[in-house]
Symmetry: C2
Subunit: 513 residues, 2 copies
């Protein structure tokens, strides 16, 4: 009874939500115990419970907004943040449905095959061998992915870690000085930065994020990590599988598995797309970053934020910032020093997420893959009409809650900055305009005004923070389908789905074997 | 040849656009000759040509934004503005297709009837008497509307003019003092205000708009005029026709015409809706104004903008401002003194236009009237996805063009204020945050800083103003169909349209006669 009830009500969306809620609660509890208590009574005080919840949700949803300094948590607390980022990263969460499906496949293959044959008989499909071969290929493909994706996950981060560690060890001495001054272990810094970049969480152990190190030698591996952990994950996977396919000998049965993965990517994995889509994805990634960069280049090349930087550094920093706008949210600039037009474009880019973030098509079955080319516009329209209403309400509430601050400190708490923060939270980007004492009216500067190295939301009231926590969680679930994607079908729906597709399945390659 | 080419390429949209472009050019030329030249060399200078174009387009598109004072034009210039408002008002433009259709009907009824009969024969529809009766009814309905709508147009404005004139003559002496001080003729003021309110253009001959007179006795007739000229136009027309239907005796053939209008409103007039839609429209008008007012009541009841007002005045002023947010754009408050949340809501309301503004359904034919209930969401989604991209680009360009002003005077030229102005222009609302010296940084206050009584856009560069002119024009054409609405079908498409609908036409009432 309980099992049946569970199976009926457990949609992918609900499982996803439950996973995030449970981990957020556990994470917040752990952070609460790992906060630095010695800071109590200081200018900022020790993190409150709400700040711990905020940090846990921010790390888990890979947003990266913070209402306290990263340094307000002990090293153990940072480790908790690290684990939360790992568990919440897009690559990691894509693994779960993979293992669930593989488990199901290996558990009851005979029962399933019987069902398949029974069902297909009624549909007058005679070729049972075809179906058996297909089942076995799908199973093998799942097994392949079950080691390939973790290998990618570990491999890329290991490479990134090595590159960043090398930079810290061999690079300019200022980096080591900053780390020593802030008493951050160099290895830990490399470890943390790697995972934060790969999971696109955008936190670093240093309060100032990357503003202190606008060095191409550091920003390049970081960029690679950011891209391979999000927008470039699906294209990279396809490329790797294609390489494996090419390098495997004709007689090896594994070659057919790779070919199957390349031909029916959506049957097996949420982050594998057909060739056309993958190319299209690459084009959009390049185009969006190019738009960002060109705007930045033409409007902010000589702005205050880039003062004293060499041309090469400016170039890499601008490119890095463009890449970050899409999802990672790390900063090399103090954002409010950039021009309004650039910031407006960044806000638009944050709100305009596309498939690569979403990584799960809203397709009914794998056959429709070929006709779903105008995804971007459809998704964007849906997002706009449904979620924009909630987001607007949220912004309105925050403006209401912060009315007094808006009127006394209109430049820091401008409507645009609040909208920027909310969009950033919803898109899980984590960029923030921050808070600057230079922008407050002189008559309102109190004795304790201090530029805070965390997000603007850290200065908001508790209710606003709670709203933002909700926005981050909802944002992490944006665009998730219920159960319609064949790559994440749960066991109880699986048979019907397999049958729907198998009976149409008519792969000539299989026939020829 | 020319006639055929014209008929093929003249869609309703293009005719509409040509009408506005020609009138805008003529109006701008006239305003250029009617500017007050004696102000040359003053602090603001005489209006430049661009300002004349801006004013002409603003009046014609009933937006009401101005880059100069209304008083910078001579009385003759104001008269030009007045005529432009009249020619551009929604009620007036709704008359044009009506007369075109009536003209077509009366010109060649026999030819048409032949065509109808010929066409219907092929469709095996035998009842020719039915079609003849229908044709005659439609013709009579058009004739009825051709005097009813002008009567409404003149009648409502006459009543409004009388009410406002009475108020000026009998009301508190301060009003007359202000008018005398600004040397504005009282009758002219009443005349101008009436037309500006009814056409929803939102201009007044006084620089301060209505901020000097927050008197319920003036605001009430103004509200009535604003509502009956825009959101309440369609419901009022239906109500009047319903009254006429009720008051007409059973034997009078005109009774059948009214009944026909009530049953098939969309066949005859762009601003007549079926009963369900009319009720729904009323509900949305009330609901939207209620949301605006409740927000205002809860956030701004004690704000600086309402200082020194009595409760009754506050109530009426708040209600008036809510009504104005939808389209008219008259001000009783200095907007930037209101709370950020209220302003944000106003911005949203401006961008969220619904059918009553649009007044033309995107229906293929009148039969589908009954199933098009979820109009709002569909329209809103379409608007968002298509036009929001252009609007965003426009905002981005303006932010780029005004970069220097944004950085030196961030409170007056905040991103929100710029977005507010552009949305206001696009929605043809005409609310503006204005420019206030109190908001400039002290070090930047020049000797000549003067609070300007016109829109924020008056302080922008020429290129930005040109962009805004385009936005106003495009905004006035938002949601216009090409040729698909049966109520605006042009002669060359008319026959086919009539046939498509007539052959399905099966009105039992007609049969019984
Ligand atoms: K992020
Ligand atoms: K207006």
């Amino acid at each position: 009874m309980v099992r049946r009830w569970l199976l009926r009500h457990l949609t992918f969306y609900r499982l996803h939500a439950a996973y995030f809620l449970v981990l957020a609660c556990v994470g917040a509890g752990l952070l609460w115990f790992c906060r630095r208590r010695e800071r109590v009574g200081g200018s900022d005080g020790s993190p409150k419970l709400l700040d711990c919840v905020f940090a846990a949700v921010s790390a888990l949803t890979v947003t990266g907004l913070l209402t306290v300094r990263v340094g307000d948590f002990s090293t153990l607390g940072m480790l908790v943040l690290l684990i939360l980022m790992l568990l919440g990263s897009h690559v990691f969460t894509s693994l779960l449905p993979l293992y669930v499906r593989r488990f199901h496949f290996s558990r009851s293959p005979t029962h399933e095959r019987q069902q398949v044959e029974k069902h297909c008989d009624t549909r007058q499909v005679q070729d049972k061998y075809l179906i058996a071969a297909y089942m076995s290929l799908e199973h093998k493909a799942l097994i392949t992915l079950c080691w390939l994706v973790p290998a990618y996950f570990v491999g890329v981060q290991l490479l990134g870690f090595l590159a960043i560690s090398c930079y810290i060890a061999v690079g300019p001495p200022e980096v080591r000085e900053v780390l020593q001054r802030e008493s951050v272990n160099a290895t830990f810094y490399g470890f943390f930065s790697t995972i934060a970049a790969f999971s696109n969480a955008g936190m670093t152990p240093l309060d100032e994020n990357l503003i202190s190190f606008p060095d191409p030698a550091l920003l390049l591996p970081m960029s690679m990590l950011i891209l391979s952990g999000n927008t470039m994950f699906a294209p990279s996977m396809r490329f790797i599988i294609w390489c494996l396919y090419r390098c495997t000998r004709e007689k090896n049965p594994q070659k057919q598995v790779y070919e199957y993965l390349l031909m029916y990517p959506r049957k097996c994995f949420t982050h594998l797309f057909p060739q056309v889509h993958t190319v299209w994805l690459l084009i959009t990634v390049v185009a969006f970053n190019a738009i960002d960069f060109v705007t930045f280049r033409s409007l902010d090349w000589n702005s205050a934020a880039l003062k004293g930087m060499r041309t090469m550094d400016k170039l890499m920093a601008g490119l890095f910032q463009s890449i970050n706008t899409r999802s990672a949210g790390m900063n090399v600039f103090i954002l409010h020093e950039l021009s309004a037009a650039t910031l407006l474009l960044y806000a638009a880019m944050m709100s305009l997420y596309y498939e690569s973030d979403l990584c799960i098509y809203r397709v009914k079955s794998w056959e429709t893959d070929q006709v779903q080319d105008n995804k971007l516009s459809v998704q964007y329209r849906k997002l706009l009409s449904r979620d924009s209403a909630y987001l607007f309400l949220c912004i309105l509430l925050i403006c209401t809650l912060e009315t007094r601050k808006i009127s006394t400190d209109p430049l820091n708490y401008s409507v645009f900055n609040i909208v920027f923060e909310v969009i950033s939270a919803y898109g899980n980007v984590g960029m923030s305009m921050g808070y600057s004492c230079a922008l407050t009216k002189e008559e309102n500067v109190t004795h304790s005004c201090e530029d805070v190295p965390y997000s603007l939301s850290g200065k908001w009231s508790a209710n606003s923070k709670i709203l933002l926590v909700a926005v981050m969680l909802v944002g992490r679930h944006r665009g998730l389908p219920d159960n319609i994607d064949s790559a994440i079908i749960l066991p109880h729906n699986f048979i019907t789905n397999i049958l729907d597709t198998t009976c149409i399945f008519n792969h000539k390659k299989l026939n020829s074997n």
